[in-house]
Amino acid sequence: MSENLLETLSVLILLSSFVLMANKRISSYIKSFRIQSLLIALAAGVMGVRSLLDEGRWDIMIVCILIVVLKVIYIPGLLNRTYASVRYKVEKDFILNIPILVLVCCGLVVFSYFTLATIDGSSQGMSNMQLVNSVSVIWIGLFFMISRKKALGQIIGFLVIENGLYITAMLATQGMPFIVDLGIFIDLVTFVLIMGMLTFRMNDQFDSIDTDQLNNLKG
C-alpha cells in the first residue's frame, strides 16, 4: 500500500518539475517549488509513518516536519520577500522557447532511465523507476538553472536540484543518517539567505537581477 503511494508521489514530484519548467512568472516558480516541497514532505511522511510502525524510528518523521517548516513555509516566504523588492516579474528571453524546454526535459528523463536501468536497485524494495524519477528531477533542476537568466530563477533551480537529491536519497536508501539530513538543511537555509542577500546587492549595483549582467570577468 505505502509502496504504491510512494510510486505515485515520485511521479507527481517529477511532474511538478515539468510544471516548473513551463512557468514564466517568477511568482509561479515559487508556487511550483512550494507544491513540489509539499509532495516531498508527503513522501517523507509516508515513509516516516512506515518506519515508525515497523521499527519505531522517529527520525524520518522529524525530517518530514522540518521539510514542511523550511521548504514549504520558510524558504518560499523568504523568496517571496526578495521577489517583492525587485522589478522583474516575468521572464522574457529564454534560451529556447517553453515547448522545446519541456521536450528537452522529457529527453532528460529518458537519459536518466538509460543510465540507471542497468543498476541493480537497493535491497529494500525500491523499484528502479522511483530512482529514475527522482534523479530526473535533479537534471531538470540543473537544466532549469541554465534556461533562466534571472537570479531568482537560478536560486529556485538549485532548490529543485536539492529537492531531487533529497527524494533520491530517501527513496533509494531509506533516508540518509539523521545528522547528515540536519546538516543538509542547515546548508540549504544558509544558501538561500546568502543568495537572497547577493540578489539584493545585484539589484542595487546593476539595477536588475539579470545574471547576463555578470560578464565583466573574463579570461
Binding site: 541493480d120 535491497s123 529494500q124 538549485f158 537529491l165 545528522i179 547528515v180 546587492r201 545574471t211 579570461g219
Partner: protein
Amino acid sequence: MGFLLLVIPIIALLLLFILKAKRLHHLVSVSSAVLLLIIAATLTHDVILYGAIAYSSLGGFFYLDALSMMILDIVLTIGLMAAIFSIGYLEEEVRQGKLPVPKIRLYYMLMVTFIFTMVLALTVRNMGLMWIAIEATTLASAFLVGFYNNRYALEAAWKYVIICSVGIAVALLGIILLHLSSAGILENGSFLDWTALYANAASLKGSVLRLAFIFILVGFGTKAGLAPMHTWLPDAHSQAPSPISAMLSGVLLNSAMYGIIRTTAIVNHNQGSSSFAGRLLIGIGILSIATAAVFILTQKDYKRLLAYSSIEHMGIIAVAIGIFTPLSIFGGLLHMINHSLTKSMLFLSAGNIMQRYDTKQIFKIKGILKTLPVSGTVFLLGLFAIAGTPPFSVFASEFSITAAIFNQSSLWVGMVFILLLAVVFAGIAVTLFKMFYGQPDSTEAADAKTGEINIPGTVCLVVLLAAVTAGGVYLPETIRELIIQAQGIVLSII
C-alpha cells in the same frame, strides 16, 4: 584534545562578536590560529605514534588519520600565515580608504568560520558530514570573495556560490550512490562511515560504486578547480582579498581534493586495480594542466595568473593520484604541501604588490624589486618555485610524480605531462617577468616611497620562502613519516 580543534574557532567567533576594539579582533584571530596550530602539532605527534585518532563520544564522528592530519596541518599553517598577514593588510586597506573599520570584524568572523568549516571537513569520518562541511566552506567564504562589494566582486561571488553549490550537489548524488552501493552490507550505525566503507570495500556493489565515483569526481572536482569545472576559480581568487586568495588556493582546493582521494581509495580497493578511477583522474588532470597552460600564456592580470597556476597544480595532483603507485602517491601528497606553501606565499606577496601599485594589470607594473625589495624578491623567487625549478620544493614533488609516470610505462601521459609543464613555465616567464624590469613610473614614484608596507606580513613571506627553499633539499623526518603513513592509507597497505 581533538575536539578543541572544533571548539576554539567557535570561541573565537563568540569573542569577535562580543569584543569591540579593532586591536582585540586582530589579537583574537591570531591567537586562535596559533592555538589551533599547537593542538594540531601535538595531534600530529599522536597520529604518527598511534595511527588514527577517534573518540567514541558524540556519535563517534570525530576521526583523524595520517591523511586528514597532513591536510589539516596545511590548513592550519596557512591559516596562521593568513591571520598574521591580514593585520597589516587590513590596516593598509583602512588607511587607503577602501575598507570601513567595522568591516574588519566581519572579515575576521567570516575567516574564522571558513577555517572552522575546513577543519570540520577534515575531522569527520562520515562521508555525508564531510560533504556538508565542504559545502559549508563555500557558503562561509562567499562573502569573503565578494568582500569589496563592487560589481566585479559581486559577479565573482555569485559565480562562486552557484557553480560550486551545483557542483557539490552532484557530489551529493555521488555520495547517495555510495550509500546505495553499501545497502545491505553495512550496519545502520555505520552508514557512510568512511572506515566501514573502506574495510568492506571489496563487497560493495561495483557498478553503483563506479557511477558514484564519477559523480563525486565531478562534484568535488568542481570545488578543487579541475577543468572543465574550474570556471569560478580565476574570478573568485582574483577578486577576494589577498589573504583569502591564499587560503582559497592553498587550503580550500586541498580540502576538496581530500574528498576525491578518500573516494579513490575505496573505489580502487573495490575494483582491485586502479585502471577505472586512474584513467578518469589522469584524463581530467591532464585537461586541467592544458587549460591552465593556455590561459597562463595569454593572461593580463597577475592574480588571475596565479589562480590558473593553482588549476595546473590541482591537475598535477589528480594525475599523481590517478597513477596510484607508491611513488606517485607520495609525490602527490608532498605536492599538496609544497603547492600550498608556495602558492599562498605568492598570493600574499601579490597582496603587497597590489596595495602598493593599486592595480592587478601586469603591464602597469614596473620595477617591483625597487619599490618593494622584500615582497618583490619573494614574488620573483616564488614564481621560479611554482614553475618547478630546483632547488625549491615543488621541483622535488613534481620530479617524483614524473618519475612515477614513466616508471609505470605510461609513456604518452608522461610526455604530454612534461610538455605541458614546460609550456606553463614559459608562460609564467613570458608574462610575469615583465613586472620586474624597468624603472617605476615617475608618477608612481612620487607618492609611493620605496619600502615594505606590511611588516609582519613580510616576515611571514620570508618564513614561507625559507620553508619552500629548505623543503626542496631536506624533508624533515616527521613530515616524511606522516606522508608515508598517509600514502599507506590511500594504497591500503597499513
